[in-house]
């Protein structure tokens, strides 16, 4: 016994270190739940990890086979889901506007493909010519103007989005009826430019911009957006106006396709008039 004390006394430096280090580890283990759990597993984990690493290397050799199997299984499962079937129920309703003698038919549709990050964005809808959708119909949703139908197949329709550098929409100010055309410049998907507003027009930030109804694609008065910023160059005769779009194209899901029932009659008359001149 005396020899043990002597031994400890001689090597007090080491034993003091040991005692303090043990104290430290007691503190660590008692005060940290994560380390507490890890401490119990760590010895096993070390070996388990080596085995698993070796196993992981072997797994690479069979990756091609596994991938192929998974792809086949995915295709099988996908063809069994509800989305694989098209629903043909057509809900449409007619608005008879007795003042303007225009009648519009609205066809509801679901957006099944959409993008906002390209310069030319298109929207695909889950209804086509069978549901009465034709080329050059307008697309709107509860917030405002979405786009114009460009291509139609029996079950699908593709619309050119407002977020497309080729789109031009005839719009006007809600409060003073000054007309301008709205186009998107391909940068921020929340803002578009309003052009052709001459410098004498008086308007304010936040003024509402609606469709003009002159193009016979959209009914008059559909919300487009509001003025976010404007500036002008004295050497030019038009304002440079940024419009914040009312539709958030990033979360588009259900839309209405607008069918202008008077469109043919109107176009026919207009053409006739032109031919006469």
């Amino acid at each position: 016994m005396r020899n043990i004390f002597l031994f400890i006394w001689k090597n007090y430096f080491f034993f003091l270190f040991l005692a303090l280090q043990i104290f430290c580890f007691v503190l660590i283990i008692n005060n940290n739940r994560f380390q507490k759990a890890a401490f119990l597993n760590s010895t096993n984990d070390f070996f388990r990890n080596i085995i698993q690493k070796v196993d992981n290397v072997y797994a690479y050799f069979s990756l091609a086979d596994v991938n192929k199997k998974l792809a086949e299984e995915n295709a099988l499962l996908r063809s069994k889901t509800l989305e694989a079937y098209n629903i043909y129920g057509v809900k449409s309703f007619i608005i008879n506007d007795t003042v303007y003698k225009h009648s519009f038919r609205y066809i509801d549709a679901k957006v099944i493909n959409n993008s906002v990050n390209r310069r030319k964005n298109y929207i695909t809808l889950n209804k086509g010519s069978r549901s009465g959708i034709r080329k050059d119909m307008g697309v709107i949703d509860s917030d405002g103007v979405v786009g114009i139908i460009t291509d139609v197949s029996p079950n699908f329709a593709v619309a050119i989005s407002v977020l497309n550098i080729d789109t031009k929409i005839s719009t006007k100010f809600k409060n003073n009826n000054h007309m301008g055309s709205l186009s998107w410049k391909g940068t921020n998907y929340r803002t578009a430019k309003l052009e052709d507003i001459p410098l004498h027009v008086v308007f304010n930030l936040g003024d509402t911009i609606i469709t003009s109804g002159y193009s016979s694609i959209f009914p008059e008065g559909v919300m487009v957006g509001c003025v976010k910023e404007f500036s002008y160059d004295p050497s030019e005769s038009f304002y440079n106006i940024d419009v914040e779009l009312s539709v958030d194209f990033n979360k588009l899901s259900y839309v209405y396709v607008v069918d202008n029932l008077m469109k043919t009659e109107k176009l026919l008359l207009e053409n006739q008039n032109q031919n006469q001149n």
Partner: protein, 175 residues
């Protein structure tokens, strides 16, 4: 007088560590731990038991601030424990002269860098291993140890040059 200087250094280093260096996130990998400079700069004549106690207290104080009981204490205790062995193995001609301090100005950059880097790497290795507490991400941990050690050493050398004036008379030089 010397003791008071060491106490002040203790307080300043911990404050610097806890209130500045721990708040600055250089990136996920880089955490310099400058507070270990206190142990590096303790005089050669410090009794061994005092060395251990001081290392333990230093780490424990940091632990109380960082809310990681035992982690820093264990690492800096280990560092204090190996310090005498490191000093013995990194030999220098002037090592045992009276009044010599373990600083760049007394023993040269070469000696100091070797001495400080061994202690820093030892401290950081233990600290990061305890922090990770398993060997799963062993190489990531080693990477963190190396990068953080380099930054700690850089800070240590910078503070050395900032706070110690070169001395003409080495023999009578005091901290």
């Amino acid at each position: 007088m010397i003791i008071i200087r060491h106490i002040i250094r203790f307080i300043i280093l911990i404050a610097l560590q806890v209130f500045i260096l721990n708040k600055v996130q250089f990136s996920g990998y880089i955490n310099p731990y400058l507070y270990i400079l206190f142990i590096i700069l303790l005089p050669f004549e410090t009794p061994k038991w005092l060395l251990l106690i001081l290392g333990f207290l230093l780490g424990l104080t940091v632990d109380f601030f960082v809310q990681t009981p035992g982690m820093h204490a264990s690492a800096s205790l280990f560092m204090a424990f190996i310090r005498p062995f490191v000093i013995a193995s990194v030999s220098s001609k002037r090592e045992y002269e009276q009044g010599i301090q373990p600083v760049i100005q007394d023993l040269g950059l070469n000696w100091f860098l070797t001495y400080a880097s061994i202690l820093t790497v030892a401290h950081h290795t233990l600290l990061f291993l305890i922090e990770a507490f398993h060997f799963n991400e062993f190489f990531i941990t080693i990477g963190r140890v190396l990068i953080s050690s380099i930054f700690t050493l850089l800070l240590i050398v910078i503070t050395q040059y900032l706070f110690y004036k070169p001395k003409r008379n080495i023999v009578t030089g005091k901290i």
